[in-house]
Structures are given as structure tokens and as C-alpha cells.
Symmetry: C2
Subunit: 228 residues, 2 copies
């Protein structure tokens, strides 16, 4: 008898009912984990387990709910992978990819928090998105190179030219330098001023190819000043 009321409450009581575009964005991605799921898809489609592996802490049922919600809102789509994988892959829609500026401004603002701890665990997508966000155009002006990354099982290639950087997820080939290791080590090298040698001795990071170039690449990025 109260069925209509129950349905209504589930679908709309939890919304902000606010014409502000930002409030509507929060209706879509304001639930826990939603934005981080999108972040993990920013470099291309992934499978359920891959997303889960890069988001330690999310539980399977919550990931299922978020993927469902984001699909109904048109942020991502579900696709069958070609055999023999025959599993599902989740891919952002064009509009979903347009969420990248959200990570830029959120990342900048969050990184300038006095309580931000850059030594916590980090996913591959996070560190590579941060490169897009934090590159200093001045420092990158004279820099031009293709740099490869192997982080876990994922390969990425960054192309720096004319003060800009583009990063795609693809097999590492024909690169001038190649970083192999954990995302946290890459972050320590780029933002923490930890010497490459230290990281290599720890076995956290390995560099192949032009070491001087790799070193130069790591100097292109600057974190925002801490506030407060």
C-alpha cells in the first residue's frame, strides 16, 4: 500500500533537489567511491576485478551498485570483451571522460590540504592523472620525449612536447626512458624528491633507457603550496 511512497523515497529523497549543476553532479557521483571508480576508468576500459584491485577497500557489492548507478546515469557503459576473456568491461562514455577536470581541481585542492598525506597507497591511474594535473608548463617548455611506464600489469606511454603532456594506456614501445615499478615509488621520485638510486635499491622502481632524461622528466611536476 505504501509501495509508491517507498519507491519515491528511494529514488528521490536522497537527491538534493537543487537546480545547481554542481548539486546534480553530486546526485550522480556524490555517493561513496563513485568518483574513484570513474578515476580508475579515465585511461580506458577495465574489468570488475581490475577496478576492485586498484581500489583496496571497496567491497564487491558496493562496486556493483556504483557501476549500476553510473551506467544508468550515462557515465559509463558495459561491454562484452571478445573471447576468450568473455567477461564484462566497463568504459566511460564521452561525457564520462569529460569528468577529468573534476580530478584536476579536486586533486589540486586536496593536495593543498595541510593534512594531505602523499605517502599513502596510490593507484596507477592516480599518479598518471596527477602528471597531467601537476605538470609545470614552464619547466616542460624545452622538454620533449616519449616516456614509458609499467605499473603492476599496466603499460602507459607519456608524450611530452611543447609544454604539454599526453598520456595513454598502451604497450611500452619506442620510448626514450621506461619506469617500471610501483605507483608510490613514482610519486616519491616525482613529488617526494626521493633519489632514484634509493628507490632502485629498495627494488621499488627501475629505470631503463636514458636515465638523465628520466631524471629530467621527474622534475617537470610541482605540487601546489599547502594552505593554512
Amino acid at each position: 500500500m505504501e509501495l509508491e511512497k517507498i519507491t519515491e523515497s528511494k529514488s528521490s529523497r536522497r537527491r538534493y533537489n537543487d537546480a545547481c549543476g554542481a548539486a546534480h553532479a553530486l546526485d550522480i557521483v556524490g555517493e561513496r567511491w563513485a568518483l574513484l571508480v570513474i578515476r580508475e576508468l579515465m585511461f580506458g576500459p577495465k574489468r570488475f576485478s581490475d577496478i576492485r584491485a586498484s581500489l583496496p577497500g571497496i567491497s564487491a557489492n558496493v562496486l556493483t551498485q556504483r557501476l549500476e548507478g553510473l551506467e544508468t546515469f550515462g557515465v559509463l557503459t558495459r561491454k562484452r570483451l571478445p573471447p576468450p576473456a568473455s567477461a564484462w568491461a566497463y568504459e566511460l562514455t564521452p561525457w564520462g571522460y569529460q569528468a577529468e577536470p573534476i580530478f584536476q581541481v579536486f586533486g589540486r585542492w586536496g593536495a593543498s590540504s595541510p593534512l594531505h598525506d602523499p605517502t599513502l597507497p596510490l593507484s596507477a591511474a592516480s599518479i598518471l592523472l596527477s602528471f597531467r594535473t601537476m605538470i609545470d608548463a614552464n619547466r616542460a617548455e624545452g622538454f620533449s620525449a616519449r616516456i614509458g611506464f609499467t605499473i603492476g600489469q599496466e603499460d602507459f606511454v607519456a608524450t611530452v612536447a611543447d609544454g604539454e603532456i599526453s598520456i595513454v594506456r598502451e604497450e611500452v614501445r619506442d620510448v626514450a626512458a621506461h619506469f617500471i615499478g610501483r605507483a608510490e615509488a613514482l610519486a616519491a621520485a616525482a613529488y617526494g624528491a626521493v633519489p632514484l638510486e634509493t628507490l632502485e635499491q629498495d627494488g621499488a622502481l627501475r629505470v631503463e633507457g636514458d636515465r638523465a632524461l628520466a631524471r629530467g622528466f621527474l622534475t617537470l611536476f610541482v605540487l601546489p603550496d599547502k594552505a593554512g
Copy 2:
């Protein structure tokens, strides 16, 4: 004996434990209503009840919790108002004000959602922030004026010059045109192409001063294209 574990779970289980700056931002403003509370403070300090009045749907205890949380994270501060008000006011810290780009990109992205409904209720802060976000530099190039707004009990003045707009909350004086009415009506006029006459007949909006200028002002803003 499990006390330590319980304490630990309370403080950190709800965090993302992710070095990504965006994830840390979500630790701070990812809870429900938090970003909208910040939005309501973007034009200056407000009192508890003023915030609550502009966020229909938030309950008093949740607002209390958000204000406490945002204060401990350094996003806002609590101040005593000078007598005779002698009440508390909440004001963003400089770092809190730096969150404005979040509303810009969130607003743009949310407004390009196919499901965005611009006819829902709207706060004064929302519509004025949207003016900052959605102004089209080309259209505003030749436009120069001071425009006043009275929305509910709040007064704002927008100054447009050189394709840019600045908006502050202050008493409306020495303006070329003055909008008086509800935020929703202003949105309908600027984004919904609803004629001023219609809104005035409904009593939703009133315009004083230079009507041609007011009309021109309303043409400076464009919503992003809908995706999908």
C-alpha cells in the same frame, strides 16, 4: 581490549586511504551536503539558520556535523558576530575559498548531464556562482556595467568589465540595473530564455533601472551542451 581497534575503525575505516589528492579532497568534502554547505558560504560568512534556509532538505543535526567536520579540516571557521547579533557565523578560510573551481567544473559537468533539471529550486549562491562559471567571454567583451541583485534578503553586486565578471555580496547601490526576485526566476531569464515580461507578470522577478542593459546582461551566459 578491542578498544584500540574500535577507535581505529572509527577514525580511518571511513577514509579512502589513498594518496591521490582528489581522494583526500573526498575525505574532507565527500560526505553528503558538505560541498553544498561550502557553496553557500562562497560569498561570505553566514549563520546556521541562513545556511539551513538555503539548503532545504538538510536537517539541523547533519548541518551541525558538517560544520564541525569542515572546521576541524580547516575549511571554515566559527566566529562570534558583533553585538547586537551576538550569534555565531561560519566563514570559509582562504583555503576554503579556493574550493571555488570545484563548483566551476562540477557545475559545468553536471549541467551537461542529460538528466539535469534546471527548473528545480535554486539558492542565491548557486545562481551567482553559475554566472561566474557560465559567462561567455566573447559575449561579455563589449559589456561593462554594475548590476545589482536582491534575492530573498541577500544583496549582491556584479561588476562586468573586459569580458570578466566579479560578484560580491554587498548592499545594492549605484547600479545600472537591479534584479529583485527569486533565484529560480533569474535562472529562467538567463538560461531558460523566459521573457522578462512573463516573469514580471508572475511576480517572480522585478527589474529596476536600465531594462535594456538588464536584458543584455542576461544574454552573457551560456550553458554547456548536453552530452549523450
